[in-house]
C-alpha cells in the first residue's frame, strides 16, 4: 500500500522542481499548469493517505478534534441536541451559537438552511418513519410556520406555538437553560470558553437586573455573575409566563380543531391562514 504514496511523493517533488524552473524563466502559463497539477497530486495523495490511515503510525493525531464523534453527527441530530438543552424553539443563529459554545465542532447556520424543508419532505413521503422531526414553530395568530424558529416534533403542541410574548419567554428560558449548562460544563467561570462568555454577556446585557451593580461596560471580559443572571431571568419570566401560556394554550386548542396531523407539525398552508384571518 505504500508504493503509490511513494510514487506520488516523487511526482510531487518533480512538479515542485519544475515549478521553480518555470518561475525563473517567468513562464506564467506553464507555472499555473504545474500548480494545478501539483494540487491534483496533493489531493490524490490526501485521499490515499486517509485510506491508509487505518494502518498504525499513519493515523492523524486525534487531539485536534476533542470530540470527533460529535463533529460527524448529522446536522439534524446536533440541532436536536441543542433544542433539547434549550427546551424552547430557537432560530438557527442561536442554535449555532449555543452549539459552538457548549459542544465540540462547529455547526454553521448554512448547514441548517435546508433542514426544515428536508424534514417536511421526509415526513410527507413516509409519515412517522423517524423517531422525531425538526419542525417550524407555529404562530399563534395564523397557525402558520413562524420565521426561522425550529422545534422538535415530540414536544407538546403548546410548546411548539409562539404567541406575541413567546419570543421574550423563549429568550429568558434559553438564558436560564444555557447558563445551567455552562455551569455544569465549566464550574469555574474563569475558564469559560469565548463563545459561551459572549453569549452569557449578551444575555446579561439584555435582561434587566442581570448585570452586577459594579459592572463596567468598557470591560466585558470580567467573569459574568451567572447566579445573578439566572435570578434576573427568572424574575422577568414570572411576569410573562401566565399570559404567554394562556395565549399558547388557546392557539393549540384551535390548531387541534382546525389542522390535520401534518398541519399541526409543519403549519397551516398560507391559503388557510388567509382564510382564517378574513374570518376573525
Amino acid at each position: 500500500m505504500q508504493e503509490p504514496l511513494d510514487a506520488l511523493e516523487k511526482h510531487m517533488q518533480q512538479l515542485q522542481q519544475a515549478m521553480r524552473q518555470a518561475q525563473m524563466q517567468r513562464d506564467q502559463a506553464l507555472l499555473s499548469h504545474l500548480r494545478a497539477e501539483l494540487r491534483r497530486a496533493q489531493r490524490s495523495y490526501d485521499a490515499l493517505f486517509d485510506a491508509d490511515g487505518q494502518a498504525p503510525g499513519t493515523e492523524e493525531p486525534a487531539a485536534t478534534h476533542p470530540g470527533p464523534r460529535a463533529a460527524k453527527m448529522p446536522a439534524r441530530e446536533q440541532v436536536h441536541q441543542v433544542l433539547t438543552l434549550l427546551t424552547v424553539p430557537a432560530a438557527p443563529k442561536l442554535i449555532s451559537q449555543v452549539h459552538e459554545a457548549l459542544f465540540a465542532g462547529s455547526l454553521p447556520t448554512s448547514r441548517l438552511a435546508t433542514l426544515r424543508r428536508d424534514e417536511e419532505r421526509s415526513y410527507r413521503s413516509s409519515p412517522g418513519a423517524r423517531p422525531y422531526y425538526l419542525c417550524p414553530a407555529l404562530t399563534s395568530d395564523h397557525l402558520s410556520p413562524a420565521r426561522a424558529l425550529l422545534t422538535i416534533s415530540v414536544w407538546p403542541l403548546e410548546e411548539r406555538i409562539v404567541g406575541p410574548l413567546s419570543a421574550r419567554v423563549h429568550y429568558l428560558t434559553s438564558a436560564l437553560k444555557f447558563t445551567e449548562a455552562v455551569q455544569r460544563l465549566t464550574p469555574d467561570p474563569e475558564t469559560m470558553p469565548l463563545g459561551a462568555r459572549q453569549l452569557v454577556h449578551h444575555y446579561a446585557l439584555n435582561i434587566p437586573g442581570a448585570l452586577p451593580a459594579d459592572h463596567h461596560p468598557q470591560n466585558p471580559a470580567t467573569a459574568p455573575d451567572l447566579a445573578l443572571l439566572r435570578e434576573a431571568a427568572q424574575q422577568e419570566l414570572a411576569v410573562h409566563t401566565d399570559d404567554d401560556t394562556h395565549d399558547r394554550r388557546d392557539a393549540a386548542q384551535r390548531a387541534r380543531q382546525q389542522l390535520d396531523e401534518a398541519g399541526r407539525l409543519f403549519g397551516a398552508p398560507f391559503q388557510t391562514a388567509r382564510h382564517l384571518r378574513s374570518v376573525t
Binding site: 432560530a91 404562530t139 399563534s140 420565521r147 404567541g163 421574550r168 449578551h202 411576569v239 395565549d247
Partner: protein
C-alpha cells in the same frame, strides 16, 4: 380629479406610475421650490429612466456593502424577539416589564404582493392595540403603513412600531450609521428623521381615520444606531415635529398640483415611448431633443445638494452649467448673490461693464469692491 389624473397620465405616458417610498417622500421636503421635480413626482414619472435616457445618469447611491451592513445591523437588533431593542425601549420609553410582546408581520410574506395583506394586518393590530383589545402588542416588526400621495396609496415599511402602555405609538427607525460620541452625521440623521416623519404621518392618518386622536402617535422618533465604533446599538430620541409639518405641507402641495399643471403648454409629455411592455428588454425611443424641450417647459431650480435626492440632478446640473447659472457655485454663493441669476451677469456687474438695476446697487458695490481687491492682488493679470 379625473381630469387631473388624466393630465398626469398624459405626462407620464402609458407606463405604470413609479411607486413612492419613504426615501422619495422624504426627498419631497428638500428643495420644494423645484417645479420640475414637483410635476414629475406628482405624475409618478420614472426620473431615473429619464436621466438615463438623457445621458445624465446618477451614479449608484448606495453600495451593496452598505446595504448588507444595514440589513445585518437591523437583524442583530431585532434578533430573538428584539432582545436588544427591548432593552433600549425599556431604557428610553420606560416600557414596563410586562410589555415585551413581539409580533413579526413578515410571516405573511415579504414580497411586494404581500404588501396589501401585511398592511391590512398591521392596521387591524394597531387598531386593536389602540382599543386595548386582543393580545398584547408591544413591538410590531415589519409593519406596512399606507399613505396617500397625490391621490394614490403608497405602502411604507417602517422598521418597527412600538406601542406603550399609556396608549402612545412610537415609530422606531434602525439605521446603521454610527453615532460617535453622541454625534450623528448631519445629513444622514436628517434623512432618517424625514423618513421617520413619513411613517409618523402615515400612522397618524391611520388612527385619525379610525376616530382616534393623532396625538396618540408620538412625534418623537426613536433612532437606533450603532454606538461609537462598536456594533452595540444605542437609541436616540429626535423631535420630528418640524419635519412632520413640512412633509405634510409638501404632500398637500402634491395634491394641489393643478396650478402648476395649468402653466404647462397643452400636449406636453415625458413619455419615453418604450418599444415593448417588458421592463427588462424594452428600450426608450423618445427623441432626446424633444424630451429636453418638454422638460424645459418646467422650471427647474438646481441646487448643489440635489444629487442627494433627485435622480435628474445631473441633467439639471448640466443645464445650469450651460446657462452659467449662479446655482452651480453652491448654496453660499447663490445666497450671497441673491437677485443675480447668471455668472455672466455677476461678472458684468463686477467689472462695471453692466449697469446695475436699482435693487442691485448694494450687490454691485460689493462685487466691484471684491474685483478691485482681486486686481490689487493679482495685478489685473489673472
Amino acid at each position: 380629479m379625473s381630469s387631473l389624473s388624466s393630465r398626469l397620465g398624459t405626462l407620464r405616458g402609458p407606463v405604470e406610475p413609479k411607486p413612492h417610498n419613504a426615501r422619495s417622500l422624504a426627498a419631497l421636503t428638500a428643495n420644494p421650490g423645484c417645479r420640475r421635480r414637483a410635476i414629475l413626482d406628482a405624475a409618478g414619472v420614472d426620473k431615473e429612466a429619464l436621466a438615463v435616457h438623457l445621458g445624465h445618469p446618477l451614479p449608484p447611491t448606495q453600495s451593496p456593502r452598505a446595504l448588507s451592513r444595514g440589513a445585518q445591523f437591523e437583524a442583530q437588533v431585532k434578533d430573538q424577539g428584539g432582545a436588544e431593542l427591548l432593552s433600549l425601549l425599556r431604557d428610553k420609553l420606560h416600557l414596563p416589564l410586562p410589555e415585551a410582546a413581539h409580533t413579526d408581520l413578515s410571516v405573511l410574506g415579504t414580497s411586494d404582493r404581500a404588501m396589501n395583506v401585511r398592511h391590512a394586518r398591521t392596521r387591524s393590530l394597531i387598531l386593536e392595540a389602540a382599543h386595548g383589545k386582543g393580545a398584547s402588542r408591544t413591538m410590531l416588526d415589519h409593519p406596512v403603513l399606507e399613505l396617500t400621495v397625490a391621490g394614490r396609496p403608497v405602502f411604507l415599511e417602517p422598521d418597527l412600531v412600538a406601542f406603550q402602555s399609556e396608549g402612545i405609538f412610537h415609530v422606531v427607525e434602525i439605521k446603521s450609521f454610527a453615532v460617535v460620541d453622541g454625534q450623528a452625521p448631519g445629513d444622514k440623521a436628517a434623512g432618517a428623521v424625514l423618513q421617520g416623519a413619513a411613517y409618523i404621518i402615515a400612522l397618524q392618518d391611520l388612527l385619525t381615520r379610525a376616530g382616534f386622536s393623532p396625538e396618540r402617535v408620538s412625534t418623537t422618533l426613536l433612532l437606533i444606531t450603532p454606538r461609537d465604533f462598536s456594533r452595540r446599538p444605542m437609541a436616540s430620541t429626535i423631535d420630528a415635529r418640524h419635519q412632520i409639518k413640512s412633509l405634510r405641507r409638501q404632500l398637500d402641495r402634491l395634491e394641489r398640483i393643478e396650478d402648476l399643471l395649468g402653466q404647462l403648454p397643452a400636449g406636453i409629455t415625458f413619455d419615453l415611448a418604450y418599444d415593448g411592455p417588458d421592463a427588462r428588454t424594452r428600450t426608450a425611443t423618445r427623441d432626446r431633443d424633444d424630451l429636453t424641450k418638454a422638460l424645459n417647459t418646467t422650471e427647474a431650480r438646481y441646487r448643489a445638494n440635489c444629487r442627494h435626492h433627485c435622480q435628474l440632478a445631473h441633467f439639471c446640473r448640466a443645464q445650469a452649467h450651460e446657462g452659467q447659472l449662479i446655482d452651480v457655485l453652491g448654496s453660499s454663493a447663490s445666497e450671497d448673490l441673491g437677485g443675480i441669476d447668471t455668472i455672466a451677469a455677476a461678472l458684468g456687474l463686477a467689472d462695471g461693464s453692466r449697469a446695475p438695476a436699482p435693487d442691485q446697487e448694494d450687490l454691485a458695490t460689493a462685487l466691484r469692491h471684491a474685483e478691485s481687491i482681486r486686481n490689487e492682488l493679482f495685478g489685473g493679470a489673472a
